[in-house]
Symmetry: C2
Subunit: 355 residues, 2 copies
């Protein structure tokens, strides 16, 4: 069913399609797009209604005994477990560290919940765990507590990992998705779509001339560099599930603004562009695991760009567009051919189990 058929007048806005349209859970409810948003806003947020959750950011802010803490959780169900550039273990560490970092927090500790499928090779589990260990050590964040459950064969899929993180917020800093303002610049830290296409290329057993490697990486160092530049940063967000398009739509909606992107300015590797073309995918919707979006005061865009480019994980950073006033909260893009198109929310499930 298309958006028109659903009679969806405000497709960048709130979620007009009632959950009742879907009597059962669809893969797309986990895809990071419109259906995910509907599940979250239609069922989960009302159920868990509280101030911290309503912020709908990558994590919650806790004030404990005078300390400002960030608290965030993510479950990882990526398949295959091992892919070019990473695996579910490193991804589970990086992803949760990144969610803390996007709140402007310094990661302090992680927990790890494992749900294992009976019959999983012990050697496979050992590889995943070793990868988590290496990733945590590289980030400098210990995994301090955990839990392990086992389900029967055919009731799980190898390994699912849920990592939860606690971080310490920077003094005086609160980043949230509603702080983008008309006139702000929009930057991305590097080429988009690498993670999603790395997963797809190994799932589909595609051999491209240039191998595509996941960008999975911990971004807390890059973020520290950006914040240390003294720039007036309004929003930080990592464009994971649903890709850059989904992340920008979320920010536009929360901040009640519109955005105009320049397609030619968005970094994209030729191999990823070719793979997307081949599979009929739009790289704007393909997941990233080591990239971030910055929305900042326009006057500080150059400073943020310089700080990113000076960091190994931001060498290909670019200014990709600007925020403007728009009652419809549309994200639009001027295309390479001089046209203009709406960059809509992702409607279906593009790439299931990408993280």
């Amino acid at each position: 069913m298309s958006d028109e058929e659903r009679g969806d007048p405000a497709f960048g806005g709130s979620c007009p399609v009632p959950l009742a349209d879907y009597p059962t859970v669809q893969l797309a409810h986990g895809g990071g797009g419109r259906l995910s948003q509907q599940l979250i806003e239609g069922l989960l947020v009302p159920a868990f209604d509280n101030e911290a959750l309503a912020v709908l950011h990558d994590g919650a802010l806790l004030e404990v005994a005078g300390a400002r803490l960030a608290f965030t959780t993510d479950s990882y169900v990526v398949r295959p477990l091992f892919f070019p550039g990473g695996d579910i273990g490193s991804l589970a560490v990086h992803g949760t560290v990144n969610d803390l970092a996007m709140c402007g927090a310094q990661p302090l500790a992680l927990s790890c919940g494992l749900i294992l499928e009976e019959g999983l090779e012990m050697a496979t589990l050992a590889r995943v765990v070793a990868s988590m260990r290496a990733a945590a050590a590289a980030v400098g964040v210990p995994i301090v507590t955990g839990d392990t459950k086992v389900v029967e064969q055919g009731k799980g899929d190898g390994v699912f990992i849920t990592t939860t993180g606690v971080g310490l917020m920077r003094e005086g800093l609160t980043l949230s998705g509603d702080a983008a303002r008309p006139g702000d610049a929009i930057l991305v830290s590097g080429a988009i779509g690498d993670h999603g296409m790395a997963i797809m290329s190994c799932r589909e057993s595609l051999a491209f001339e240039a191998p595509i490697v996941s960008d999975t990486a911990a971004l807390h160092g890059l973020i520290a560099a950006i914040l240390d530049s003294g720039a007036d940063v309004h929003v930080l967000r990592d464009p994971t599930r649903g890709g850059l398009a989904t992340t920008l739509n979320e920010i536009a909606k929360q901040s009640a603004v519109g955005m105009m992107l320049r397609e030619a300015a968005i970094p994209l590797k030729p191999a990823v562009a070719a793979a997307c073309e081949f599979l009929g995918l739009d790289p704007l919707y393909v997941a990233n695991e080591g990239k971030l979006v910055v929305v900042c005061a326009d006057a500080d865009a150059g400073r943020v760009l310089a700080a990113m480019r000076a960091h190994p994980l931001g060498r290909e950073a670019a200014i990709i567009g600007a925020v403007h006033a728009d009652a419809d909260h549309f994200v639009q893009m001027t295309t390479a051919f001089g046209g203009r198109r709406i960059v809509d929310w992702l409607s279906g499930e593009q790439l299931p189990r990408i993280c």
Copy 2:
């Protein structure tokens, strides 16, 4: 293979059977018994080696900006999702609140990671989420952040939930499993085996004369009452997976002591005793979700008992035994018939997916 065949000389002690004996993950690796212990000690702890993890308690202690925090995580895979007395949602809230409380912490906030199976009834999910909400509200602890993933039909089992909790430690209090001392008294807060037998009775479609209802409950209030009594409490632990026997063996091992229990003193409901008898299960190994074990100075046992009995969740509390010096760290029991037996670690998987 029996313990004898494995040549296991210290079956209450460390884990002599190498992981290599099991090239694949078994259900029993998640059962809370000996194999779980081997997986944790043989693979997970060495991999994530750090001071906080090595304590091996229900949670980790974090010192953040002068505040002492407890941090704990648990994944829930119980089936069926709904059972007499509770469901996976309330269980996921109670279990993690209890893990915080066992560290001597006041629960502050929970996170919730959902892994849903494609095709799950949306109404079922709504029931689970409503139950989590109600449980969290009753406890007074908000669910402040979450994540939702969806896996293909046949790659999950309805709903898996991972809840992680942050709590604030009581001033001056540190509880860990290694603090039991010869002479200490051992208490339990009520009848054992209710949760596990409630699950089993609905799985096996057994109709007993008296229905068996899970004891799932949040124990932070009971623990506050115990600690407020001023008693010299050494260890608090909730006997979940693997039951009372497993919890006591863990404490005996970590504290390097022996224990002597009196079978006649251990509270057990007649219906649970009958169901265990019928199914050939030992209630000492059956999971509880609303009970706790206290090890305290013998002189304070009466005070702890009174504090427990004055609380709605501790009315059937009892002193069930004492700690003594034992280089083998055996947990033993004087039986109702006047004999004595070793209460060993659980070797296999008694009740898979009990929580």
